[in-house]
C-alpha cells in the first residue's frame, strides 16, 4: 500500500531535538525521505503496523503531530512533480 507520512516535532525543548533525529532515522528505515518531514513509500500491511509502532515509541503523543495517509493498492491517484528535481523515490539510482 502507498504510504505518505509526515510529522511535526515540538523542538522548543532540547528533548524535542533528539526526538526529531530519532523520528527521522525510524521513518527512513521504511520510507523514502522526500521533503523535510515528509516521507513516501510502499509497505505491506504488516510493514505499516511496524512503522506505526516504532514511530509511536519515538514521538511524544502530547506534544508532537504524526499523520499517515494509507492508499490502498486499488486506489487510483496521480502524482506529479511540478519542479525540476529528480524523483527522490526513484528505484533506479
Amino acid at each position: 500500500m502507498r504510504i505518505i507520512l509526515f510529522y511535526d516535532i515540538d523542538t522548543t525543548e532540547k528533548k524535542g531535538q533528539r526526538r526529531l533525529q530519532k523520528a527521522l532515522k525510524t521513518a527512513r528505515k521504511y520510507l523514502t525521505h522526500v521533503q523535510k518531514s515528509v516521507f513516501e513509500g510502499n509497505l505491506t500491511a504488516s510493514g505499516i503496523e511496524r512503522l506505526k509502532n516504532e514511530m509511536l515509541k519515538v514521538v511524544d503523543k502530547e506534544k508532537d503531530s504524526l499523520i499517515i495517509y494509507i492508499l490502498e493498492d486499488t486506489t487510483n491517484y496521480k502524482r506529479e512533480i511540478l519542479t525540476n528535481i529528480k524523483d527522490p523515490t526513484d528505484n533506479l539510482i
Binding site: R28, Y30, T32, L92, I93
Partner: protein, 317 residues
C-alpha cells in the same frame, strides 16, 4: 513485497544507522531497507560486510554485474526457507530418467510457446521433435534449432544485424542486448527461487554443476522470450534504444551506462506490469508470475499437480 532497486552509478553502498546509504560525490541517498526486495548492482561499487549482514537480516538478494554489464554473481543470504523434504524430492526427480526428461522438456516447451507469441513462427514441428527426444542432448538440439529460427525472426523484426550468437564478448548490438537481457532474467529468477524452499543448484535441463545456480537457468528458459527478447524487440522498434547506447569496438560490443539505464527501466516496468491470472482470478505482476511458476514446480515435485509451463500470451492483459 517491496521494490527492486537498481544501482547504475558508481559509489559506495553501506549500512548507515539501520538502513542502506548510497553515496558518491554528487548523490547521497538513503534506501529504506523495509522497502527493498532485491538489489541489482549494475556498476562498480564499494561496500563492506556490515552492508551484507544487513541484507542477510532482511533476506535481500543482491546481484552484481561488472563494468561491462556481465553478471558476476549474487549475494545469496543464508536461506531461511528450507525444506529437506523438497530437496529430496528434487533429487529424486533428477535421478529418475523419465521424471528428469519430463521437466527438461517442460522448460523447453515453455520457451517455445512463449517465443511463438513473440515471433509468430510455426512451432508445431519443433514441439513434435521435442516429443520424440529421448535424452537431454536431443532436447538441447531441438532447442538450438528453434533458437536459430527465433534469431532470424529477431533480425527481421528489428532490422538490426544479428549474424550469429556471440558471447564473451558479444560482437554486435543485438548480441549485447541478448547477453544483458538474459543475465537479468537469470538473476531475477534466482532472486525469486530464494523465497521458495527450492534448492537452486538441482536442475533438470542444464546439468547441475558446481558453482552455479542451475535451476534458475532452467526456469529462465520459460521467461527469456518475454522478459529479454520481447523487451529487446520493443525497445528497438520504438527506437528507445539506438546506436548511441552502445560501446562498440572491433572485437566487442556492450551497452553503455545510458543504454543500461534505459534497459533496466524498461525491464522494471515490464516486471511490474500485470496480467489476469485465470486460476487466482485476479491480476498478478510478471514478478509474481515467476514466483507462481516456481510454486507450480514445487507442486509437481511433491506430486500434487503436473507442471505445465505458463503460456504468457494466452493470459489477458
Amino acid at each position: 513485497m517491496g521494490e527492486v532497486y537498481y544501482i547504475t552509478t558508481s559509489g559506495t553502498l553501506r549500512r548507515d544507522e539501520n538502513t542502506i546509504l548510497f553515496e558518491n560525490q554528487d548523490i547521497k541517498k538513503k534506501i529504506p531497507i523495509e522497502n527493498v526486495s532485491e538489489l541489482f548492482i549494475v556498476t562498480e561499487v564499494s561496500t563492506n560486510t556490515k552492508f551484507f549482514s544487513l541484507l542477510s537480516e532482511y533476506d535481500i538478494v543482491a546481484h552484481f554485474f561488472n563494468y561491462y554489464g556481465y553478471y558476476i554473481g549474487s549475494f545469496y543470504p543464508r536461506e531461511s526457507k528450507l525444506s529437506g523434504h523438497l530437496i529430496i524430492k528434487q533429487v529424486e526427480h533428477y535421478l529418475d530418467k523419465e521424471q528428469k526428461l519430463y521437466l527438461a522438456k517442460s522448460f523447453v516447451i515453455g520457451s517455445i510457446i512463449n517465443s511463438e507469441g513473440i515471433y509468430k513462427i510455426d512451432t508445431k514441428e519443433h514441439l513434435e521433435a521435442l516429443k520424440q527426444a529421448s535424452n537431454t542432448q536431443e532436447i538441447m538440439q531441438v532447442e538450438g534449432n528453434f533458437k536459430k529460427l527465433c534469431y532470424k525472426a529477431l533480425e527481421e523484426l528489428t532490422g538490426w544485424d544479428f549474424e550469429a550468437r556471440t558471447k564473451r564478448p558479444p560482437q554486435n548490438p543485438l548480441n549485447a542486448l541478448i547477453s544483458f537481457g538474459n543475465s537479468l532474467v537469470y538473476a531475477k529468477v534466482l532472486g525469486e527461487i530464494y523465497h521458495t524452499p527450492l534448492n537452486s543448484t538441482v536442475s533438470y535441463l542444464h546439468e547441475p554443476s558446481e558453482k552455479r545456480h542451475s535451476l534458475s537457468l532452467d526456469m529462465a528458459e520459460v521467461f527469456k522470450p518475454i522478459l529479454s527478447e520481447g523487451l529487446i524487440i520493443e525497445l528497438l522498434k520504438s527506437k528507445a534504444i539506438t546506436e548511441k547506447d552502445f560501446l562498440e569496438e572491433a572485437e566487442y560490443c556492450y551497452l553503455n551506462a545510458e543504454g543500461r539505464k534505459k534497459f533496466l527501466r524498461a525491464f522494471d516496468d515490464l516486471l511490474k506490469s500485470t496480467v489476469y491470472h485465470p486460476k487466482l482470478k485476479r491480476n498478478v505482476s510478471l514478478k509474481t508470475l515467476i514466483r507462481l511458476e516456481l510454486y507450480k514446480l514445487v507442486k509437481h515435485l511433491t506430486g500434487e499437480e503436473y507442471y505445465l509451463p505458463v503460456n504468457y500470451h494466452s493470459l489477458k492483459r
